[in-house]
Amino acid sequence: MKSPVEEKMLVTFWGTRGSISTPGRTTEKYGGNTPCVTIENQGTRIILDAGTGIRNLGIELVREAEAGKQPLKVHLFLSHTHWDHIQGLPFFQPAYLKDTKVTIYGSPKKERFLASVLKRQMDYEYFPVSMSALTADIRIQEMSEENLHLGPLRIEWEEQGFHPGGSVRYRFSAHGKEVVYATDVELDLIFGGDHRTEEKEAAARDYLRFVQGADLLIADGMFSEEEYPARVGWGHASIPAVIEAAAKAEVKQLAVFHHDPQHSDKYLDDLWVKYRSRYLAGPQKMDLFWAREGLTLAV
């Protein structure tokens, strides 16, 4: 009989910063690497986005492989192809191991195909190693209408508007638990404002339906409410907007993610103190935390 621990999805944050990596003393707690998260369950390993955080993940995976375990097999799901979500890929060590199998999934709705976008990032003008030099078995697969099953994990996805170029949100379900990854979407435009359009109403309904009751929601909360008015249209949510939307959808635990490069550890700590007690003690009973590098939790 399996123990509950084995059934749980292990979620690890390897990069939590938005836009650009921010190394330095003031960001060492929450981390300076751009988005990368893993979900593991009973031997199936999912990677969400290939920001600079994927470099440390790659080192860890190679260490595991060298310790004599099975050849690596990973599934990388991209929310979209903006720099901060793909720039770590050329530094992902397992991609240089011939026994590794990497499947990269992303939106089919790109004007240029996903393979082409990733390949051009490794053009000689930008990087000395071409994508064809990666010796791993790399397959690029655009998402189809059908939901995907990988091991015990069921994967659903939807396109998100309200971000320049769009993005994709994913929901991973296993053993009755759900983790939703929904970053890079401007929830303030979807849920707020006086000028309500049918497009916004539909986007709000779709978002709430998709994240409804999630055991863990990893979501973009890049700006403080004071910063947001000067950043309308940038494609990212304010912290109160993502908290309100998650609470409305009865999310059980919210990881605020994609931290602004200007936000220091102290600033994020202060925001956490401001918001957390309000929701933990409130009627929603939603737990709330700021995603940080090096944190693994079980769902």
Partner: protein, 134 residues
Amino acid sequence: MSEKNDVLKDRNSFDTTEEIPRGKFADIMPLSQRVYLEITGSEEKDGIFELGEKAVVVGRSTECDIQLGVQNVSRKHARILFQNEEYLIEDLESTNGVLVNGIKVVRCVLRNNDQIEIGGVKLVFNEEKRLHKK
């Protein structure tokens, strides 16, 4: 004239600033890091435990490196290990879990002033960097 004024007079008498040989700049004192767990919430045992590079187990059992005699603490509750020049805490499938800054974790890299909670006992992770004196 006071002793202080004598010193100033001597300094004022220097014609030029003497240049320090460049090799001297390479003579940097080594930095050492000491890391502590400060146990603050246990009735039986408050105190400071210094962490080294060897993994330590925290729990209720007498076999543990840090023993917390509290009922809500599992026999072997958590392990703290030094890996890749960082300290990590791991939950050893305890009954009540390990919380870092209020979040229940399976594993977490520790940073200065992180507040850990193990079965109701509060521990603070403290890093201290100092120069070695010769």
